[in-house]
């Protein structure tokens, strides 16, 4: 069974989506380590190291995701997690912006998958199966 770490980054307390992701991924055969809301980059990374996770799925709904995710990839590299897959989704930028540009920026930051607002977790599930298997 593959392990994934999920959580809501930064000073963001939106818990509903987080619970849905936990439910769907667990039901589909993943060992989900949910670090919950108000999580820092270090929390995600420490959890991934101890649990030998293959992917980190970051949620952010309050608009500051772009700031909170800065240097996440570099931090993972520092912690020896160069191979871990990084996903991010939600309202990850301030205001309404062209998603193609947003995706480009996050990919440049080192994220493997970037999801716009309103995407169902089932779509990420397909990608997850492709990226890390079950």
């Amino acid at each position: 069974m593959k392990t994934v770490v999920i959580g809501v980054i930064g000073a963001d307390v939106h818990a509903v989506g987080n619970k849905i992701i936990d439910y769907v991924l667990s039901k589909n055969g993943y060992n989900v380590v949910n670090i919950g809301v108000l999580s820092s980059q270090e929390d995600f990374i420490n959890a991934a190291i101890e649990t030998d996770a293959k992917a980190i799925l970051i949620s952010s709904l309050y608009g500051h995701g772009e700031l909170d995710c800065q240097y996440m990839k570099e931090q993972c590299d520092e912690a020896g997690l160069s191979d871990i897959k990084l996903y991010v989704g939600g309202n990850i930028v301030v205001g309404k912006q062209d998603f193609i540009q947003v995706e480009k920026r996050f990919k440049k930051m080192g994220f493997d998958r970037v999801y716009p607002p309103g995407v169902k977790i089932e779509q990420a599930l397909v990608d997850l199966k492709e990226d890390i298997g079950i």
């Binding site: 069974m1 392990t3 000073a11 963001d12 307390v13 060992n31 380590v33 670090i35 919950g36 809301v37 108000l38 929390d43 420490n46 959890a47 190291i49 101890e50 649990t51 030998d52 996770a53 309050y62």
Partner: protein, 464 residues
């Protein structure tokens, strides 16, 4: 009269406590210098002789049982190894501390050859090897197990990490001289603490081997098995006093502080959950009965380390307001460090000792209690809580030689609460302060194993 004798082979003194179980009172206590270097029984015999001399009513033939604990010959020294500092390393440390050990060495991630060399040279009694949640990272703990094997480490190793790695380590260690024990993972899931089995095995190794190696085993001919390290006995006493037993009510959440010559121990019993809804817990789960040991906070051996923690200016704030003496802080500390048997004779020396004790108390509490951090979110302020919220603790109990003989012990222990302006620390707000004047906490922890009811009654009676 049913008599019970409790023995504590301490680092300095061998202490005896005689209890009358029928009428639930303490008949008497006595002490003599611990004699591990020659024969540990010499000190015991001397203490017993003193006890019998002062209490001729004690008839050794009436003694229904003995229990003993020990912290002699340096106590129980352990090394804790884990993966991530805040997670399995911390879990491993808590298992050791909860079992009454001193954690002398701590290693995280892949242990290096240099670190192994240091570990080998150090005087360690037991190693606790953790790392990875169950089903999580196993590569690191296997690497560390291999390094320990290559170095032919000859002290017992307790393996308390990812269960997926257990088979491989067991195969690696089988048919070697390595002495190893496999127990449940100290952190089976992220942030879940599970130290019970590890603690039991630490105690078992302590009973079976460590006390023998330290020359305390001889005592067992006379008094039966030495059942635990002294700090564990204190922790058990605190737990009983907090929880109560059968129809006798306990004290609820409480804290025990022991300021010693070399270390300051803090024990708290209680969940320490957040008291408000806008607080979110962070970090590893806290043990219900938590013990921390500060190796740099002590009255004598570690006195000169104090100036690394507080500046000269801050130090002066711990003197009483009416203290007119212009203390030479560095010199006074050095004097105590060099002469660990130093006993204050003048008023100024007493005042200085009082200030040291206050610092030990203040700083050790600061490290023991939980902290909050403010997070400004679009929904308003939220708080992270790391560690236990001890703000509503009802009782703080002082024990250990320094406090119990000090006339201003209660005054010293008042530095546990918030007066020191550390608002983000979850210190006890307004606790009642009790002192273990008869020095019975460890003895009561021992007694609690067979006679919990008497032990509890005595503590409620003798902690003043």
């Amino acid at each position: 009269m049913e008599l019970y004798l409790l023995v504590d082979f301490g680092s300095t003194y061998t202490k005896l406590t005689a209890v009358d179980l029928d009428d639930n009172y303490i008949i008497g206590t006595s002490k003599a210098t611990t004699t591990v270097d020659t024969n540990v029984l010499e000190g015991y015999d001397k203490a017993l002789e003193r006890l019998l001399r002062n209490h001729p009513e004690i008839n050794m033939e009436n003694i229904s049982g003995f229990s003993a604990c020990s912290s002699a010959a340096g106590g129980l020294k352990m090394a804790a190894i884990g993966l991530v500092e805040e997670l399995t390393v911390e879990a491993a440390k808590r298992a050791c501390l909860g079992a009454g050990a001193i954690v002398n060495m701590v290693f995280s991630h892949h242990i290096t050859k240099r670190e192994i060399k240091k570990l080998k040279e150090a005087d360690i009694d037991i190693i606790l090897l953790a790392g990875g949640t169950d089903g999580g990272n196993k590569e690191c703990i296997i690497h560390n197990a291999k390094r320990l094997k290559e170095a032919e480490i000859d002290v017992p190793i307790i393996i308390a990490g990812n269960k997926d790695a257990v088979d491989e380590i067991e195969e690696m260690y089988e048919n070697t001289k390595m002495e190893f024990y496999i127990v449940n993972n100290v952190m089976p899931q992220l942030k879940k603490l599970n130290v019970k089995e590890a603690k039991e095995v630490i105690r078992k190794i302590f009973i079976d081997q460590i006390i023998e190696a330290k020359g305390i085993k001889k005592a067992e001919q006379k008094i039966g098995e030495i059942i635990m390290p002294t700090p564990e006995a204190v922790l058990l006493a605190a737990e009983l006093l907090s929880n109560g037993y059968e129809d006798i009510e306990g004290f609820g959440e409480l804290m025990v502080i022991d300021i010693g010559g070399a270390t300051t121990d803090v024990h708290t019993i209680g969940e320490g959950f957040p008291k408000r809804t806008e607080v979110i817990m962070k970090g590893l789960q806290e043990p219900f009965a938590k013990r921390t040991v500060e190796g740099d906070l002590g009255m004598r051996y570690s006195a000169n380390a104090l100036l690394n923690l507080v500046s000269d200016y801050e130090f002066r704030k711990y003197f009483e307001e009416d203290d007119k003496c212009n203390h030479n802080i560095a010199k006074s500390l050095e004097r105590r460090r060099e002469n660990v048997d130093f006993i204050p004779e003048t008023k100024d020396e007493e005042e200085f000792d009082k200030a040291i004790a206050k610092i030990c108390c203040d700083v050790s509490i600061s490290r023991h209690v939980g902290h909050v951090e403010v997070v400004h979110t679009p929904l308003g302020n939220m708080y992270y809580q790391t560690g236990k919220d001890l703000s509503e603790i009802k009782y703080v109990i002082g024990t250990g030689g320094v406090l119990i003989n000090n006339s201003s012990a209660k005054n010293i222990l008042r530095s546990v609460n918030k007066k020191s302006n550390k608002k983000l620390e979850l210190r006890p707000n307004n606790p009642s302060i009790l002192i273990d004047r008869s020095y019975i906490m460890s003895a009561m922890g021992l007694l609690s194993q067979k006679h919990p009811k008497s032990s509890l009654k005595l503590m409620k009676q003798y902690l003043l």
